[in-house]
């Protein structure tokens, strides 16, 4: 370096002595002077003149008129002069194509110069002269240079092929240069290999389908070897090329990864990023349970973090790339949160990017730290940054539920600062928090309302108005607040006007008495005085709704809103995959695919991540439904539509007219299936007719499954009375309890899933329910009500769901039932229609209970009475049933049945047949008598025969169902 400083000093002695003087000559008639000087005999003068020409060219003056004179200077043995002339040629050849031919001879000659520097210079310049006419003359010299003995010339020639291809692709193909280029991949010199790869990749981009870079394990191996030896830039070409290769299997993928990972320790960040790209891409093929996969994940984090110690511009590029990587594989950097903390002196573009990554990495584990940081940032002065920090707090609340409360209180603290834009931003995000956790943080509304006057940005005003409208019933002066906005209605932005219109309509629907005037005012403002079609249309729709059917209006305007999603502004997965393939390029900085910003055909191929090896995914989740389907053979029962009856259910609190109630979907009859097929059937046996609920019920199946399956072996083992121990939790009586089935799928009930079963315990009927919250918000205020039914079943007390039900939480409730409710005969007889209400809505479903639920404990008839009654009931009331394939002997059967309050009054043995005489009493006092015949002699004959006699013969069938159910379980 010393020589350089000496030189600078020497040159610094007098500025007249330096080249900068060339920039100062700007006289008129200069061209003439230069022309004369260029044609001078004196070498020195000539060179001075060329320098002046180049200087003028650099500052943008047109010196193309001097073309012939400059070209004349080309034939010189002075390297510096030659370079300058070549520079001139590159600039002006295009505008003077005819003149440019004059230079061809010199090029051809220079390509045979003994000095490799001159040969390389000639071949490099040749390619930059974008004149069609010349190109064909250049093929011969280029061919020679591609085979030059000096690697410096070869590597330059390799690039020249790409240049030539850009000018005339056909020529390059015809001349066979592409094959020569391919041969250079096997060159002994790593730099030549690298440039050949670079040239081929460049050419391949404009030929998407050509198999130019015929990548196979052999060439890959060559490239990986060259990778260790060539310069940093060469390494990048090779790595980028490797990234386009698709390994055949995970083994090959791993072995390439192993050879690429050392590059992560390279000092050049571009090499590191290219290596990261290759690894991210090939990782896709590695099975996640592979040890190496974990190792690779661990290896990726440190180099990415180190990229952040570079200059801010580089940091920015690194952060944009990390942003992609974090979205694709958050596990890589999950422990590195603190490196993204913003420093005071970071440039704004680095700060904003860091903030974005911080939110993406936020999790329950680090949320406390993150919030403390965000709060710190929110008190800075840079408005954009502060706003984004406040927004980030809101996003944390939405992303990490456990932190929501802390986020809200942080936002309240920030509102107290009274810094205008902080307050406004905070209100905007609080609105989002309300959307995510409805009915949870409304206590802060009062504080928000205090700041109403300071809101001057449309987004904040709109957010505040939304909040007031949405929670109008809890804000005493909601009408005043909204009215205050209404005064300057026409000066507001559309966003605010629309919000205001909706909010006032909401208010009216909630407090119709006091706000009639207000709503009329806003409707007329929106419909009559506004030019905005959106506003007008919305106004008209509200108006008509309100005037024709207020109830419908309520349903429309106050409908439950979908919860906002957890992660906002995520990149769409296929785009993300494509961007991962472009790590380290401009595409990864813009987060746009190259096709979005590159003109023409170059580089717009869509890249894809390789598919994972092996069949993988589908095998990982065995389909429960399939396993179960074999058992299913019970016919699906269809509930007749009973819309007229449902009306009775609807007096809960909204009282919408009957016509608005959706008919009970047939897929909700899970309870019925349950009885018929013993629980399992219901999973698949339900009305398969394209019901979307099927998926849900399958998904919900495991909840009920284990209990049912667990019970089965116990029965099969002949354990008799013990069977019920496996049947369900908390069973005290010996009655059979079917496993819980899904009665109300979550997708039909805005995220609430209800499954349940019935049980009779110590003489009390219970409805055992499981409520699962599959929505994103908390559910509260549960209530239940039954429609009139055949046996007068009714809740004996209120539904006890004491705590709010958080997302993904399940609560089990046992609801005692009485049989003293209103009676109405149902079809089928054991059908029960239920309405469940929560803070969100009212949901309806129907289920069927086993009639054995109604068998009372004192149902054992005296023998004499039995005989008399049997005779007394007319024989047309007797029904015959067969219970097939039952391997129980009479004692076991008798014991089992007794557990469900079917009492054996007497037993008789005739020949090879046991006859059990049994009695049952229903809650409403109806007696049923049964005769059960069991074959004892013949082991092959396992069918039982059942005769049921009852004064109400329609019950018989249900009694038979109970026998089936009890004896088989």
């Amino acid at each position: 370096m010393e020589w350089a400083s000496q030189l600078c000093e020497n040159r610094g002695l007098g500025s007249k002595m330096t080249d900068s003087k060339y920039f100062t000559t700007t006289k008129k008639g200069e061209i003439f002077e230069l022309k004369a000087e260029l044609n001078s005999d004196k070498k020195e003068k000539k060179k001075e003149a060329v320098k002046k020409v180049i200087a003028s060219m650099t500052v943008g003056k047109d010196v193309s008129a001097l073309f012939p004179d400059v070209v004349n200077c080309m034939q010189t043995d002075n390297l510096e002069l030659k370079k300058l002339v070549y520079l001139y040629l590159m600039n002006y050849a295009k505008s003077q194509p005819d003149m440019a031919i004059m230079a061809v001879n010199t090029f051809v000659k220079d390509c045979e110069d003994p000095n490799p520097l001159i040969r390389a210079l000639a071949v490099r310049t040749m390619g930059c002269i974008r004149v069609d006419k010349i190109t064909e003359y250049l093929c011969e010299p280029l061919r020679k240079c591609l085979k030059d003995e000096d690697p410096y010339v070869r590597k330059t020639a390799a690039v020249c092929v790409a240049k030539l291809h850009d000018i005339n692709a056909q020529l390059v193909e015809d001349q066979g240069f592409l094959d020569t280029l391919k041969d250079l991949i096997s060159d002994s010199n790593p730099m030549v290999v690298a440039n050949a790869v670079a040239a081929l990749s460049e050419i391949a981009e404009s030929h998407p389908n050509s198999n130019l870079l015929d990548l196979n394990p052999q060439t890959i191996n060559k490239l990986l070897t060259a990778l260790n030896e060539c310069t940093e830039w060469g390494q990048i070409f090779i790595l980028d090329c490797l990234a386009n290769y698709t390994p055949r299997d995970d083994r090959e993928s791993q072995s390439i990864c192993e050879r690429v990972t050392p590059r992560l320790s390279h000092a050049n960040s571009a090499v590191v990023l290219s290596a990261v790209k290759v690894l991210m891409k090939f990782m896709e093929m590695l099975p996640k349970d592979l040890d190496y996969y974990g190792t690779l994940l661990k290896k990726l984090a440190p180099p990415l973090v180190t990229l952040l110690s570079a200059e801010p511009e580089l940091q920015y590029v690194a952060l944009r790339n990390i942003n992609l990587i974090v979205q694709k594989r958050p596990e890589i950097l999950k422990h590195e949160m603190k490196v993204f903390f913003v420093k005071y002196n970071d440039p704004i573009y680095v700060k904003l990017e860091k903030l974005d990554i911080m939110i993406r990495l936020a999790s329950q584990a680090n949320i406390a730290q993150v919030l403390a940081e965000l709060k710190e940032y929110a008190t800075e002065v840079d408005v954009d940054f502060v706003r984004k920090a406040v927004r980030a707090i809101g996003r944390c609340a939405i992303k990490v539920e456990q932190s929501a409360e802390r986020c809200v209180s942080t936002l309240l603290d920030l509102i107290q600062t009274k810094v205008n834009y902080v307050v406004q931003e905070a209100i905007v995000v609080i609105k989002d928090i309300f959307r995510k956790y409805p009915n949870k943080y409304e206590s802060v509304i009062a504080t928000l309302c205090e700041n109403l006057d300071s809101l001057d940005e449309p987004e904040a005003r709109a957010a505040m108005i939304w909040i007031v409208g949405e929670y109008a019933e809890r804000i005493d002066n909601a009408d005043e607040l909204l009215e205050s906005f209404l005064e300057g209605f026409h000066d507001e932005s559309t966003q605010v006007q629309l919000q205001l219109l909706t909010a006032i309509v909401k208010l009216f629907l909630k407090k119709p008495t006091e706000t009639q005037e207000l709503v009329q005012q806003v409707l007329s403002l929106a419909t009559q005085d506004s030019d905005n079609p959106d506003l007008r249309d919305r106004g008209y729709i509200y108006w008509r709704l309100l005037s024709t059917d207020p109830v419908a209006a309520k349903e429309v305007v106050l409908a439950e809103k979908p919860l906002i999603s957890e992660e906002t502004d995520l990149i769409e997965p296929t785009l993300l995959d494509e961007l991962i393939c472009h790590i380290g390029t401009l595409a990864s900085v813009y987060h746009k695919p190259p096709s979005a910003f590159v003109e023409g055909g170059r580089g717009v191929q869509h890249k894809r991540l390789p598919a994972r090896a092996g069949s993988g995914e589908s095998a990982e989740s065995p389909d429960v439904g399939q396993a179960v389907s074999a058992v299913s053979d019970a016919p699906p029962a269809v509930i007749p539509s009973q819309g007229d009856l449902l009306g009775d259910l609807l007096n809960l609190d909204l009282a919408p007219p009957t016509s608005n109630v959706p008919p009970v979907p047939s897929s909700m009859q899970m309870g019925a299936m349950d009885l018929l097929g013993g629980g399992l059937d219901s999973l698949l046996g339900g009305d398969v007719g394209g019901s979307p609920a099927m998926g849900v019920s399958l998904g919900g199946a495991p909840v009920g499954m284990p209990a049912g399956l667990g019970a089965a072996p116990a029965v099969g083992g002949g354990l008799g009375d013990l069977f019920d121990l496996g049947g369900g939790v908390g069973v005290t009586a010996g009655s059979y309890i079917p496993p819980k089935t899904v009665w109300l799928p979550a997708m039909k009930a805005k995220g609430l899933e209800i499954s349940g079963t019935f049980a009779r315990r110590s003489g009390v009927i219970h409805m055992d329910l499981s409520f699962t919250n599959k929505a994103m918000s908390v559910m509260t205020d549960f209530a239940i009500q039954f429609n009139k039914n055949s046996f007068g079943l009714a809740p004996a007390g209120p539904l006890q769901v004491l705590t709010p039900l958080s997302p993904n939480q399940t609560v089990d409730v046992s609801l005692p039932l009485s049989t003293t409710g209103p009676v109405m005969k149902m079809e089928p007889l054991n059908n029960l229609q239920v309405a469940v209400k929560n803070n969100i809505d009212v949901f309806y479903f129907s289920c069927q209970y086993p009639i054995s639920l109604l068998f009372v404990e004192d149902g054992k008839m005296d023998r004499q009475v039995f005989l008399a009654t049997w005779k007394d009931i007319p024989s047309e009331n007797e029904a015959q049933f067969q219970i097939k394939d039952c391997h129980l002997n009479s004692d076991a059967a008798s014991n089992k049945l007794q557990g469900s309050n079917i009492f054996t009054v007497a037993k008789r043995t005739v020949d090879t047949q046991d006859m059990l005489y049994q009695s049952v009493k229903l809650t409403n006092g109806i007696w049923m008598l049964a005769e059960l015949r069991i074959q004892t002699g013949n082991p092959n004959s396992t069918d039982l025969e059942l005769s049921v006699k009852c004064r109400a013969p329609e019950v018989s069938q249900y009694v038979y169902q109970c026998y089936e159910l009890i004896l088989r379980n």
Partner: protein, 408 residues
């Protein structure tokens, strides 16, 4: 804005596109959202601010993002200072360099030492002598020329560790890490083969030796001369060094370190009257060590006036153009504690503009000491001529990005 120099590599960009650049940049600056990558239509600009000059790279197609850093580095090494004058003075060389650095948009050689071998400013003298391409340009060892000779063969090794610390206003350390760098000045003849031994924890675990203190390096970056695959397989750092000065490796250590100089500050602002600042600095390092040239920079409001200082050691100075009090302590022994008090007046009419909360920053240097405890165990030098060479090692720890947030 004037274009000092321009080289169009692919011929697919119209040179007048650059005119849009400044407009776009100004626009972004006004919006407060500057970004080092800007696009205009199908043309993309990347810029780096170097003093007051913008270096632009224009692209139309997908391109490597790191390209534009390097010309700046190379030029700086060539001309020591990169300014308008130095480019104009040497525009011929600059063009030559641009030619060699990149061809058709493909970066080629960016090692200035090698470039200097065949691109010189003395072009007007030499015409015949320079007829050979240095083999280094295309060699596997592209960073060292053959045939170097020194009378005395020596290697100087500098181990420099910078500490980055971010401390919250309540005194908790938010993040701290050490960025180390091992720099070489090699004056060795021929093509020597070097091996550097450090007390690297992974290496010691591999070889089963666990004597003494070891250091776990979180991430290591090497000069291209180091055989990366060798390091990957057995943690050996082996290389043929570049001649003269170079950075052999850098490393990052994540382990939590006690901030070497701890600052406690009380900044009390009494609106319309005064600001009172009390800063206590404590050396949290070994008593035998001494921190040199310690500077504690404390931010003050921009409208502060009439400074008064009191220090227990060193001296404090008000730098109004940076809104700072700089407290300088020439020599700060470990374990000691010093105090500085400052008092400023505030005008009765308050400044409307919101001011940020710049942190207190600290600068220092502690020689003969590395905070991580990293040590050069050996440096083996083998050359086929068999000469004896001496390695010299120097350690120094300095402040990197050392920030302590304040409450005021």
């Amino acid at each position: 804005m004037t274009v000092l120099i321009c080289r169009n590599y692919k011929g697919d960009v119209d040179m007048s596109e650059i005119d849009h650049f400044l407009t776009l940049l100004m626009q972004q600056e006004e919006e407060g959202l500057m970004c080092p990558v800007i696009s205009h239509g199908s043309v993309h600009f990347m810029w780096i601010k170097h003093i007051l000059y913008y270096f632009d790279c224009l692209f139309t197609s997908v391109c490597l993002s790191f390209v534009c850093m390097f010309p700046v580095q190379v030029f700086t090494e060539y001309f020591k200072e990169l300014e308008e004058e130095s480019i104009q003075d040497n525009f011929v060389v600059v063009y030559e360099l641009l030619d060699e650095l990149m061809d058709f948009g493909f970066p080629q050689t960016t090692d200035s030492k090698i470039l200097q071998e065949y691109i010189t400013q003395e072009g007007n003298k030499l015409e015949v002598a320079k007829t050979k391409v240095p083999t280094t340009v295309t060699n596997a060892v592209s960073w060292r020329s053959e045939g170097l000779k020194y009378k005395k063969n020596e290697v100087f090794i500098d181990v420099i560790e910078s500490i980055n610390v971010l401390v919250n206003a309540n005194g908790s350390v938010m993040s701290s890490d050490i960025v180390g760098s091992i720099k070489l000045k090699t004056m060795l003849s021929g093509m020597p083969e070097l091996r550097l031994g450090l007390n690297d924890r992974v290496l010691f675990a591999l070889t089963g030796r666990d004597k003494g203190k070891t250091v776990a390096m979180e991430d290591v970056k090497f000069h291209q001369c180091v055989r990366l695959s060798r390091f990957e397989s057995d943690r050996t750092i082996s290389f043929i060094p570049p001649d003269g000065e170079s950075e052999l490796m850098s490393y990052r250590i994540n382990t939590h370190v006690k901030p070497l100089i701890w600052i406690e500050s009380v900044i009390e602002k009494f609106s319309h009257s005064r600001v009172e600042i009390m800063v206590k600095a404590k050396g949290q390092f070994k008593k035998q060590s001494v921190a040199n040239n310690v500077e504690v920079r404390v931010p003050v409001p921009s409208d502060a006036d009439t400074p008064k200082f009191k220090t227990s050691t060193g001296h404090a100075k008000y730098v109004p153009e940076k809104n700072l009090v700089v407290w300088t302590i020439k020599s700060f022994p470990g374990g000691k504690e010093f105090l500085m008090r400052a008092h400023f007046g505030l005008p009765s009419v308050e400044n409307d503009e919101m001011e940020g909360k710049p942190p207190i920053t600290v600068k220092f240097e502690i020689p003969y000491f590395t905070v991580s405890g990293i040590q050069v165990r050996y440096m083996k030098i083998i050359e086929k001529s068999g000469y004896q060479a001496l390695p010299w090692v120097r350690y120094i720890t300095q402040s990197g990005d050392y920030q302590l947030r304040t409450n005021a």
